[in-house]
Amino acid sequence: MDKIWLIAQREYLTRVRKKSFLIMTLIAPLIMAGFIIVPLMLSQVSESKKVVAVADAGNIFAGELPNDPDNEIRYVAAASTNLETAKAAFRKSKNAALLYIPRYDVNNPVGFQIFARENLSLPMQVNMERMLNRKIEAARMRQAGLDKEVLDKIKADVDLQTVNLSDSGETASSTGITTMIAYVAAFLIYFFIFLYGVQIMRGVIEEKTNRIVEVMISSVKPFQLMMGKVMGIAAVGLTQLLLWIVLSTAVTTGLASVFGAEKVVAARTGQLNQATVDTDNSAAASAAVAPADAPAPKKLSGAAKFQQEFSKGLDGLNIPLILASFLFYFLGGYLFYGALFGAIGSAVDNETDSQQFMMPITMPLILTIVIAQSVIIRDPNGSVAFWMSMIPFTSPIAMMMRIPFGAVPVWQLLLSMGLLIAGFVFTIWLAGRIYRVGILMYGKKVNYRELSRWMFYKG
C-alpha cells in the first residue's frame, strides 16, 4: 500500500507540475469565458436601437406611439403626417425607416408603407406588421362592441409546473434545470474518462519506451504500479475539475460585474442547455439564487420567472444525492475504464498501435452519450435507461442522466453502484493480468488472441 501511495504521489506531482497542466487549467475557464463574452459583445454591438419615424395620417396610434416588446425599435413621430413632407424630413434624418400610416378602412386596411434606405431585416418587418395587426384587431373589436379589457381577461397563458409525486411527498421540480444538471454531470464524466483514461495509457507506454518498467517492477508488483498510476491520475483529474470550478466561478463573477449579472447568467445557462431558456427568458435571472418562496399566485415574466424557476428547480432536487452519486460515478467510471486503458498501454509499444484496442473501449462510451441525449433524457425511467444504468460499461453516464430527475428507486441505485464496483474490480484484475505480461513484452504485435492467453499465464 505504501508503494501504491508513493507511485500515485509521483504520478500526481509530475503531472500537476507540468506546464501543460497549468495552461489547460488556466485556459479552459478563459475559453469558457470567451464563449460568454463574445455573444455578449456581439449583442451589445447590435443593440443600438433602430429609430423608425411614424407618419400617422390614419391616427392608428391616437398620438400614443407604441413600445417595441423586443426592444429593437424606437418609434418617433415623423416631422409631419403628410407623406411628402415626412419623406423629405426622413431623407435629411438618420432614422432607419419611415412608417406611413394612410387613412384606412378598418375592414380593409391597405396602403401601409415603410420607407427605408436599405432593406429592413425580416424580423424587424414582421415585428412592425404584428404590431399593426394588433392595433387593427383592437379597433375591429371595439367596432364589434367588445371591450379590450374583457378580452385580455379571457386570454389564457398557462405554464405547467412540474411536481414529482414520490414516497417522500411532493416536490416541485423544474425540467429545465434538471435536464441541465443531468447533461453537465454526464458530459463531465464522459470527458473525464476519455481525457484521463488516455493519460493512463500514455503513461504506461511512456514507461515501456523509457525502459524504466523493468527497474520499477523489480521493486514493486506490476499491479501496484498500475494502481498507483490509476489513482495518481484520478487525483490529477479531481484537482483540475476543482480548479476549473473555482476559476470559472471567479471568471463569471468578474464578468458579471462588468456586463451585469443578468446577461452573464443568461448567456451561461443558454450555453449549458438551450432547453432551459425558452424564448420568454431571453432576459434571465440574476446570479443570486433567492430562497424559494411559495409559488407566486400571479403570472411572472422574464427575469423574475426564471429566477423563481431556477431556485425552485434547485430546491426540488436532491442536491446531496446528486453530488454524492456524481462523485461515485465519476470515480467508478474512471476506474472501470482507466484500468482497461492501462492494459492497452501495456500491450502496445507505441500509441499508433493502440487504435485497434481502443475501439471496443471507446464504442460503449460514445454510444452511451448518444443514447443518453436522445432516449434517456426523454424517458429517464424507461427500460433502455434502466438497463443502461445497470451495465457498468454504460452506467456512469446513463445513471447520472437519470438521477437528477429523481425517482430512481433505491434498489436500482444500489444495484447499479454494486455492479459498477464489481465491474471495476473485475476490469482492474483483468487489466492487471494483461499488464504484468504486457509491460515486459517488446517489439511484438499483439492481437486479441494473444491478450486472452496472457490472462491465464501463471505469475
Binding site: V215, S218, S219
Partner: protein, 314 residues
C-alpha cells in the same frame, strides 16, 4: 561456504518455448558470479525469477536459506539489460523515488544519494532532468539507483554493454569495492571475455540448461590440456614419445613458435629440460583455455547438435 542464493531445479516455460529446464545454481556470499551463455539461453529468465518479476513454473529459489519472498526485494539490486529512467524527472527526485520504492526512508535515501552523487561527480546535475544528461551520466545515475539501497545481492544484466570504456572501468571499480564491503554480484552476459577476469565463480547456460558451473580456477584446471607454448631460437626437432607437437611455426632469423602437448604424466619441467638441451628458450607458458573456448568445448561434448547455433550467437 555460505550461499546467498540457491536455485534448485528451476523450470520456466513460455507459450512457445522452454526458457529454463532444470537449472540449479549455488552462489556463494561475497563473490562475483558470472552467469554466462549466448543470447536466448535463459539468463534473463532466471534473473527475472530471482528479482521476482516472474515466478518459476517449478523448482525453488532460496535466499540465504529462506524461500524467496517479497521481503527479499529490498536486498536485491537489479540493473536490467534494458536501461531506462523517467526522462522528465530530475536526477535527485528520481533517485529518491526509486530508493523509497525499495523501502528506504526519505532521510536515509537523501543522505546516501548525496554520497553517491559526490562520489560519481554528478553534483551539478542533481537538479537537471534526466533527459538533459549525457548518456554516460544517465548510466551513472542508473547504477546509483541499482545500489543505493545497499543490496546484499546486486544483479547486473549485460553490465558493460551500455557503458563507454571510461564509465565501464569506473563501474568495475565500484563493483569491486561493493564486493569488498560484503555484497555479492551476479554478472549476466553473453560476452564472456568481458567478465572472465572479474568472476570468482561462473555458470554456463546454453539452451535453457546449465552446462557447467563452479569456481573459475577449478574449471580452468579441469579444462587444461597440458599444452605449452614455446618460443625460442634454434632448430627444434622434437622426437620424444611424451611430447606431441601440435603446431610448429618457423620465423625469421631461426626463431620458432611451437605448441606442445604433454603425455604420460610428464611435467612441464621435463619438457623444459628437454628443450634447454636443444634450443635457446625465450618464452614458455601454459596454454590456458578461455571461458569462451571452454564453453564451446563443453557444448560440443554435451549437446553437439546445438553447437552451431551457440557459435553463431557468441
Amino acid at each position: 561456504m555460505n550461499h546467498i542464493l540457491q536455485a534448485i531445479d528451476v523450470h520456466k516455460a513460455y507459450a512457445a518455448h522452454v526458457a529454463l529446464n532444470g537449472v540449479s545454481l549455488d552462489i556463494p556470499e561475497r563473490s562475483i558470479f558470472g552467469l554466462l551463455g549466448p543470447n536466448g539461453a535463459g539468463k534473463t529468465s532466471l534473473i527475472r525469477i530471482i528479482t521476482q518479476i516472474t515466478g518459476a513454473d517449478s523448482g525453488e529459489i532460496r535466499f540465504r536459506g529462506e524461500r524467496l519472498n517479497p521481503s527479499h526485494i529490498a536486498q536485491i539490486g537489479y540493473l536490467p539489460e534494458e536501461r531506462g529512467l523517467y526522462k522528465k524527472m530530475r536526477v535527485g527526485e528520481q533517485l529518491l523515488y526509486l530508493a523509497r520504492l525499495k523501502g528506504l526512508s526519505k532521510a536515509d535515501a537523501t543522505q546516501r544519494i548525496k554520497q553517491w552523487i559526490d562520489r560519481l561527480g554528478l553534483r551539478d546535475w542533481v537538479e537537471k532532468n534526466v533527459e538533459d544528461l549525457s548518456k554516460g551520466m544517465q548510466q551513472k545515475v542508473q547504477f546509483i539507483a541499482t545500489v543505493l539501497h545497499e543490496p546484499s545481492l546486486i544483479i547486473l544484466d549485460e553490465p558493460f554493454s551500455g557503458f563507454d570504456p571510461i564509465n565501464a572501468n569506473l563501474i568495475k571499480d565500484e563493483i569491486l569495492a561493493l564486493r569488498d564491503q560484503g555484497a555479492t554480484i551476479i554478472f549476466s552476459t553473453h560476452r564472456m571475455e568481458s567478465v572472465e577476469e572479474l568472476c570468482d565463480n561462473i555458470a554456463l547456460i546454453n539452451r535453457s540448461r546449465k552446462v557447467l558451473d563452479g569456481p573459475v580456477s577449478q574449471i580452468k584446471d579441469t579444462f587444461k590440456t597440458n599444452t605449452y607454448e614455446v618460443e625460442g631460437k634454434g632448430r627444434l626437432m622434437v622426437i620424444h614419445p611424451d611430447f606431441e607437437v601440435l603446431e610448429h611455426k618457423e620465423r625469421e632469423n631461426g626463431h620458432f613458435y611451437d605448441r606442445i602437448k604433454l603425455h604420460h604424466n610428464t611435467t612441464p619441467n621435463d619438457l623444459l629440460r628437454y628443450l634447454i638441451g636443444n634450443v635457446e628458450v625465450h618464452a614458455f607458458r601454459e596454454q590456458i583455455p578461455s571461458i569462451n573456448e571452454i564453453f564451446i568445448r563443453r557444448v560440443q561434448e554435451t549437446m553437439p547438435e546445438t553447437l552451431e547455433t551457440a557459435n553463431a550467437l557468441l
